[in-house]
Subunit: 434 residues, 2 copies
Amino acid sequence: MPVTNIAKRTYDHNFRLDPIVRSLLDTDFYKLLMLQLIRHLHGDVQATFSVINRSRTVRLAEVIDEAELRAQLDHARTIRFAKKELIWLAGNTFYGKQQMFAPDFINWLSAFRLPEYDLRIVDGQFDLRFEGPWTHTSMWEIPALTIINELRARAAMRDKGELALDILYARAKARLWEKVERLRQLDDLVLSDFGTRRRHGFLWQRWCVEALKEGLGERFIGTSNVLLAMDADLEAIGTNAHELPMVAAALADTDEALLHAPYRVLEEWRAHYNGNLLVALPDAFGTASFLKNAPSWLADWTGFRPDSAPPIEGGEQIIRWWEQHGVDPRTRLLIFSDGMDIDTIEETYRHFHGRVRLSFGWGTNLTNDFRGCDPDGRTGLEPISLVCKVTSANGRPAVKLSDNPEKATGHPDNIERYRRVFGSEGQRRSAVTV
Amino acid sequence: MPVTNIAKRTYDHNFRLDPIVRSLLDTDFYKLLMLQLIRHLHGDVQATFSVINRSRTVRLAEVIDEAELRAQLDHARTIRFAKKELIWLAGNTFYGKQQMFAPDFINWLSAFRLPEYDLRIVDGQFDLRFEGPWTHTSMWEIPALTIINELRARAAMRDKGELALDILYARAKARLWEKVERLRQLDDLVLSDFGTRRRHGFLWQRWCVEALKEGLGERFIGTSNVLLAMDADLEAIGTNAHELPMVAAALADTDEALLHAPYRVLEEWRAHYNGNLLVALPDAFGTASFLKNAPSWLADWTGFRPDSAPPIEGGEQIIRWWEQHGVDPRTRLLIFSDGMDIDTIEETYRHFHGRVRLSFGWGTNLTNDFRGCDPDGRTGLEPISLVCKVTSANGRPAVKLSDNPEKATGHPDNIERYRRVFGSEGQRRSAVTV
């Protein structure tokens, strides 16, 4: 006779809110690394972050109930870092280094909470903004994205029966495992989970991470998700992101200062982290321009994370630059993390294997690949291209050019000025699907 | 914080035995229909049933622990029909008919228990026999098979971690659902579950039945498993099996009586069930011989279940026979149930659609298709061809010829005599995989 756990059942049926964010550690590791630097060097900067849905045809405000979104955002604002989380941040070793986070910063985190948000509906989309000190608004990026993505997934699954859900997840699991079996063939693969922001849901990301851990063994080096890294005893992976050069550029007073903003930021980074975490993102305003004007000390850095050029082309460009600077690429690292999936990982691996140290950050196509898994044949679970970007700093507009004009953000006039300063060499338009 | 149900966990960890058979209704419906007739007309016959593993290369006694097998068989012997089960058998309508089971039979069932068994190990195989009154040994067929098949599956999964099992079942579910999506394309499909005896396990069969119920709707007409039929409010499907003609043949004193034994059995059947359940199994001693010597009243029966000839060839043979008897095949039923899978179901459906009433009994490839699903790449979950057949009646050897010599059972000398009496026209050897 089946025995029902009556307490559990009663609790389940009285659910008010099933929180999407349950911990402030449920964010990308680079947010904490950048936050420490921002607080240290730019604690007075005001920065606005905005959620932007690049998949315009998906009218999010017609899919997700505004009240539900507010309830989740409000809930996230009630969360504080737990004591054991701060102890772990203080005591854990990151990239082999102890005390990556200073006691003073840890102490400051203990009072941290997410700041207010501003939510409106404009033309079927959520206009969701976070205004205030950069030290606080920056931390909304990941929770804002995970909340919207998971609410959308929940909406897509709302009418499904138990069997349909069972089949949906069975298919998604079977699909991920097919990918794992292919990845296993790549002997020297180095791969990490970068899928927090676009995940189907927290529990699903956790499953994916467990599957990679078991399926790939040593080839799987960790996750960008700090909470999962703590819980599963994995390395937390990440360094820095576009918001650093974007804010620096926005605050630059002259075109000359603008052109050098990306390098100034990296100097700050190197100094702040005492020569650790030396991975640079070259594409905020175009990789060609970045490399052309880059100071030669950058050739001493560990590597680059090309994030919007086609992987092989972007990698070759950087390898040529290293060679021009007399550096053996085999001693340097390339991290590929832009919309990678099994085919592009295999292709990129085979292309560069042996020529450079390679690492893959696998995001949306790891933690949100439900394409064709819905037994009802609907598409509400297919990933969308949702980002949360800094849009202004101290009231001045922020801009991103990227190597793919489809990924540019900012007002057209400002984009135009940036293109004039940085040039548009090597820009290649290609559809952004994730 | 995850909450552990401590009582459940403690109970799970103290498991002595996870019973494979938990109800005497967990058997095929035809066993109960045959049992009522056997008790009524042949209550004095002694019959021996023997488990035969046609997949000789799988040395079952090296895979399954003998003590575990005995524990499961012993447990099955402790089970009685539950009161609610007997009430359901008495009160339910089967094939539209009330009181299919007489009150006197139901009353007799209330005291029924499985008889003793005789287990030895011979050359790596279990020599498992049931000797005693036909009214009791017959009922071992299904539990003996489900116990051995499920113990083998458990053994194959014993060292697997939680994730490997998760992927295994995810793949099996995804695979079954692909089949369901193909079957949905067949508008007039009529299909039932015949997968009890060779199932991976009871819970998996239940999942498969629920999936067919939800996925195929009206096209799924029921299950041969009486317990699942009761629990899921489905039709119980089945009529009779080879043991009836096999026992009748074994008891025949002359070659003439032997030749007519199969028809005598069907006359008994028709009389006993008052003209209901008129589906005949033509292949016990070869379909060609069966049809050649069949009395013309058999053309008035609802249909046939060809069970060992290739489906299209076997069906055409029967259609020709109907036409020779002036019967329109479109008014008659063919039930295909021999090792069917998605490809042969589609092919057979397309071949006969519109020419005859068609029905499919889907067995092993429904409830035990884990081929290629094991993430460790092992084959211990692939189905084997295990049967439990009547091997003697009142001390006289029983024989089955079938349309496929690979499926013949009995001593070679006796098979020889049967071939002489019934002929071997139309016999076609083909590999038996399930």
